[in-house]
Symmetry: C2
């Protein structure tokens, strides 16, 4: 099959590399050769071994020989318009673009279904970790109750450095930037927006109905202090930025926030730039997926796997249940009960199992309560730190 | 689609249960209703809600309405003959039978390919953990270098009890039997045969060529002592029964043996009846899959996922690369280098980084050496314990 790559940045060039270096292997796996006919990018790449660059999207759109397009542009403009037109023309589209999938997944999947082609996005969550396909085709024998994950490598690296090396948030962030783990503008990572989009995608797949990422309550890690991580250790917990979604009686509840995770939960041992995603099912129990959540080749390898799968399903839509959700389907979660870590000012007298790392303050882990009940538990003490504890 | 279930034991009855309790959900996922028309078992089940039992295999084989059969009989007689005849008749077969897949996978997959149907076996390794499908369709964008796993829940439970509770092997084994985690005859588990079959299946899929399970060097956990686990702790390691396969220059190397695994490797934190499988790929890096490796509903849910997938691929063979291997493809591994844990009698003078838990003995972890070099390292000291150390 002849294909095109749109966007020749980190992921796009990685896809090109793998398709060339593993040409023979990929032909065997896909059942036919996969040939890159166009690469769309506004920049020039005079030193690239590829000689098929174009700056004109129409070249790809109007070439009937091109059966599949890899969209590695990122963002929604012009990726949304391009993807829609390609799918409408009957070309498979494979993407790593989580923003686009989170925002327009329902519509783009519907077009793919109608045209009996595929819009696949394994690389949009968890880099090279297979999580999308297991959700749509391996865990179908089990009703899914929840998905809880560490979905962003940058923030997990920062938190790991704070916990293991005693670095402050600011020190750990600049180290992550120096090592190239974080973009110059780290907002999407540290404010939790990246985790939020991935959570929306996982929730939409796990429960079959679209979750709007903009409506998921999202808190990043900028307020996590070194003291919080020290208290976590006292309670045999790690601090992790968690994206979670859970099935409830009348809908689905989703949230992104930093949380205490007990050492006994394997997620707690997922450190550094790694991601870990725990799926809990009725029949299957707890299943975890772990690996590098980002990086050029891991992400590109996930894109290439989707390319191979689409070539294998040339004339068949791989059924992905993801439809519009009814009004009120995403619940606000204020009735959800959690254990909470509370760091309080004052004297710990009268608090059971309290611990302290400095004079004039202490911390407790509550029983399972709603957020509204926290003030009552604090008994008038000023709250200077607070996080959910996740099983 | 109308289907049959052969063998109404733990897994077969679990499949029936899920198909009934999640009928609506499964219809949505498969795109059509899945109806159990026959259940083959020599026993009677007067209290079962199912009323479609038969003792005659020919009923299923000759009924053209039956498009798919779940083989949950176990063993190779008569499962091999039945499966072959069903596939030849053009009926999809889904199985959890690792013995049959390990022994006759190549032949049965070839028939399925020729008939454009499917022989699927997600449940044969790792219970409900999706590992087979990721290997054949999600990790295709990355060359695989190795698969290393804890593949047997019973032995992992026993080792965890020894490490965490200080129980002897014998005590832990009888506890596993009391709890129903181990069969009455635990040979297959504790001698490593079960892990060996699963390793053969994973190796055959990961590298595309059949590995004969009977030729994989296999050592169980019966010789692991409490002292070994105490030394492991001193070296910040767990003791795990590991099935591994690795790509080498001229073939593949595979082995099953108990090993030290450093705490820093996530596999080391996979405890109790859980399984964990680490796949290492050129592009994707390390990816781990974790969950319950056995049990009625986890295993049955994996079978049901395969049923749904086969219904979705009614007229298409899902390409699985698994062909005959050339002579000498499975290497004997005697040149493979490992670090070794050695427990030695005598005085630790002259040994670097040695530790001791009792008078007159000590232990070391060697540099990377071949098995042949061990005697030299031991410098004439009697070896009373020995295990590989795995990354």
């Amino acid at each position: 099959m002849k294909i095109a790559i749109m966007g020749f940045g980190t992921v796009g060039s990685g896809v090109g590399e793998i398709l060339v270096s593993q040409k023979e292997e990929m032909t065997k796996k896909a059942g036919e050769p996969i040939e890159v006919k166009y690469i769309l990018d506004l920049r020039d790449f005079p030193d690239s071994p590829f000689k098929c660059f174009t700056k004109n999207f129409e070249d790809i759109l109007n070439d009937d020989e091109v059966g599949l397009v890899v969209e590695a542009m990122g963002g929604t403009v012009p990726a949304y318009d391009f993807t829609k037109r390609l799918l409408t023309k009957g070309k498979h589209v494979i993407t790593s673009n989580k923003e686009l999938v989170a925002k327009h997944g329902t519509e783009l999947l519907t077009i793919a279904r109608e045209k009996s082609i595929n819009y696949l996005f394994e690389a949009s969550v968890g880099g090279g970790i297979p999580i999308i396909r297991p959700l749509i085709s391996s865990l179908t024998g089990s009703g899914i109750n929840s998905v809880v994950g560490i979905l962003n490598g940058t923030t997990n690296y920062i938190l790991t450095q704070m916990i293991d090396k005693g670095k402050t948030f600011e020190e750990a962030l600049s180290e992550a930037q120096e090592k190239g783990y974080s973009e110059k503008d780290p907002t999407n990572d540290i404010e939790g927006f990246d985790t939020c989009r991935k959570t929306a995608i996982l929730a939409s797949l796990a429960f079959g109905k679209a979750i709007d990422s903009e409506k998921i309550p999202t808190e990043g890690i900028t307020k996590v202090t070194l003291e919080d991580t020290m208290y976590a250790e006292k309670f045999s917990c790690s601090v992790k930025l968690i994206g979670e979604c859970r099935k409830a009686e009348n809908g689905v509840f989703a949230r992104v926030c930093p949380a205490f995770v007990p050492y006994s939960n394997l997620i707690s041992n997922v450190n550094g730039v790694f991601n870990g995603i725990m799926v809990d099912g009725d029949e299957v129990g707890s299943v975890m997926f772990y690996g590098r959540g980002a990086g050029k080749l891991p992400t590109a390898s996930a894109v290439v796997s989707d390319v191979v799968d689409a070539v294998k399903h040339k004339d068949t839509n791989i059924r992905i249940l993801w439809t519009d959700a009814p009004e009120g389907y995403l619940l606000d979660g204020k009735d959800c009960k959690y254990k909470f870590y509370l760091r309080l000012k004052g004297d710990m007298n009268g608090f059971e199992n309290a611990v302290s790392i400095a004079d004039g303050e202490f911390a407790v882990i509550t029983d399972e309560i709603t957020e509204a009940e926290i003030e009552e538990i604090a008994k008038g003490h000023e709250i200077i730190g607070k996080m959910r504890v996740i099983g």
